[in-house]
Amino acid sequence: MLSRDQVLHVARLARLELSDAEVERFSVELSKVLDHIEKISELGGLEGVEPTSHVVEVENALRPDEPRPSWPRDVVLEAAPDAAQGGFRVPSPGAG
């Protein structure tokens, strides 16, 4: 069972603000899901098994290192919620 504090801790790590109602709801729902996921710890004999990285065995994916143009700055900034002086403007990090 995930406690209220654990949900709030994970939410902080994930940069998610949650309402009180969400914290309640998620601690119940996520506990159920985690109970199911825990079944994976019942499986023995995993010593010496390699974790999957790429599902099809490949060694290296190399290509010639050729310079290509990047996106023009104004094109990239077009989608920004707040652009200023050729950059992304954000609120101040605050006094801390």
Partner: protein, 479 residues
């Protein structure tokens, strides 16, 4: 029914190549149908009178296509079904979509989906759920539910979607069409808004296997923008097989028993009989680790998504909420922009990757994944394909599973093991089965064929032979 609606995409392309139909006529026919869609299958429809300049002499013949919302399409809304990307118009187009356009398929519409492809019903879209054309009170499956519903209803001739744990195959099954998940790496992921990068793979939604081969042939290929892309070792051919002589089919006991609706199982067994008549041998076999697939999947996919979705912070694109300082701007933007299922998975993933839990969860899940892939590798010594029902049940009613995330996740039980192993699998329409709720409703079910990595041509051939023998009638949904 109009004559144009009756044509498969390959037949329409043939007419255009022969000069019996123009790409403009076909475009306007489908544009009008897409604009009149009442299933909420689309997040955007192109209203132009003429298609984008495509070369109709290409293999796709000028036949318009529907593209899942999460594919980046230049200047066109590409929102992954999320409020956090509402109205986002990217400056570039996904490689797979570029290749389809290059082969002669103009983009007619973007299709609805579960937010960031997280879901099995398309009810998690910020733009409202898509309805199933076979019964509008039911879901089309998901996450690529818009693509599946649109092809089944004939509001686009064909479409593409993405499959992470079953998001092409399950909606194809629930809507009575063909859906193909290629080998991981066959199609470039560049420009696909990421969910779980080690699992995400794009593929076709079509009325038949011939159309699926045509789309896959045009989409596949190695791409210098995606280092995990491999392409396919041989060109994709139009499937021609009419029998299954000498083909050995394995029926995994773990994926064909508990949890499968009786009607779905009956349809599955009937098709096994057909396969036998077509010359196949059928044997029960085991994929001993596959029962752990769902648990491994629901660790790996959320872990990867929690990392991939860190980019939605209100700085470079999409929604930005007000905040007194930088941190509260981030947390408020994500609180307002993400839906409940996305938050659930980001939380599970962050938990599983957090300090002290990594080895017990993500590390363990990646080992289980290796064991699941090994089960399949061993199976190929004795079998050409592994076959299962695609989904454990027929389409369920809207809202039936939204309150119980775990019940929703169980929809993926038969499709997740192939995703974890990275192998190709197709779902073909396998007749109709009664809804367990009764009421006399009969709904489509799917038959899944999975094969070794890069066996797409052989899978398509086997699927073609079965498709001819099953003779599924899809016209009831083509209103």
């Amino acid at each position: 029914m109009s004559e144009i609606l009756d044509l498969t995409a390959a037949q329409a392309a043939e007419r255009i190549h022969a000069g019996d139909l123009t790409k403009g006529e076909l475009w306007r026919f489908y544009r009008d149908r897409a604009l009149a869609d009442d299933l909420n299958a689309f997040t955007w429809v192109c209203e132009e009178d003429e298609p984008l300049a495509v070369d109709e002499s290409g293999p796709l013949g000028g036949v318009p296509i529907g593209v899942k919302d999460l594919f980046a399409t230049q200047g066109v809304p590409s929102q992954a079904g999320s409020k956090i990307l509402e109205g986002y118009r990217p400056p570039y187009t996904a490689t797979s979509v570029e290749k389809l356009i290059g082969a002669g398929a103009p983009v007619l519409a973007k299709t609805n989906q579960d937010e960031f492809a997280m879901g099995s019903s398309t009810e998690n879209s910020a733009f409202g759920p898509t309805l199933n054309p076979w019964d509008r009170a039911r879901v089309p499956g998901g996450s690529s539910g818009g693509s599946a519903a649109a092809v089944a209803a004939g509001t686009v001739p064909w479409a593409i979607g993405t499959d992470t744990g079953g998001s092409i195959r399950q909606p194809a099954a629930l809507c009575g069409i063909v859906g193909l998940k290629p080998t991981y790496g066959a199609v470039s992921r560049y420009g696909m808004i990421a969910f779980a990068s080690s699992l995400d793979q794009a593929g076709p939604f079509t009325r038949d296997t011939t159309d699926a081969a045509l789309l896959l042939a045009a989409m596949a290929g190695r791409d210098h923008c995606d280092s995990t892309s491999l392409g396919l070792p041989e060109p994709v051919r139009a499937p021609r097989a009419t029998d299954l002589s000498g083909i050995r089919l394995g029926v995994p006991e773990e994926l064909t028993g508990e949890g499968i609706e009786a009607g779905v199982l009956a349809a599955f067994n009937q098709t096994l009989d057909l396969a036998r008549e077509l010359g196949a041998t059928i044997e029960t076999m085991h994929l001993p680790h596959s029962p752990h697939g769902l648990a491994a999947y629901y660790l790996i996919a959320p872990a990867e998504c929690s990392s991939n979705l860190a980019r939605y912070d209100g700085v470079r694109y999409g929604l930005r909420a007000d905040g007194q300082d930088l941190l509260s701007m981030y947390t408020q933007t994500r609180e307002q922009g993400f839906g409940a299922e996305v938050k659930r998975r980001v939380l599970i993933g962050t938990y599983a990757l957090s300090s002290g839990y990594y080895d017990a969860y993500y590390g363990r899940a990646q080992k289980v994944r290796t064991l699941i892939a090994d089960d399949f590798k061993k199976a190929w010594d004795d079998f050409d394909f592994v076959v299962t029902p695609t989904a454990p049940g027929v389409a369920f009613e809207l809202g039936a599973k939204t309150a119980d995330p775990l019940a929703m996740y169980l929809n993926d039980a038969c499709t997740v093991p192939m995703s974890l192993a990275g192998i190709p699998a197709i779902s073909i329409p396998n007749g109709l089965a009664p809804s367990p709720g009764g009421g006399g409703v009969r709904l489509p079910v799917g038959f899944q064929i999975a094969g070794p990595a890069f066996s797409e041509n052989r899978i398509l051939d086997a699927a073609h032979a079965l498709e001819q023998a099953i003779g599924f009638d899809h016209k009831a949904a083509l209103a």
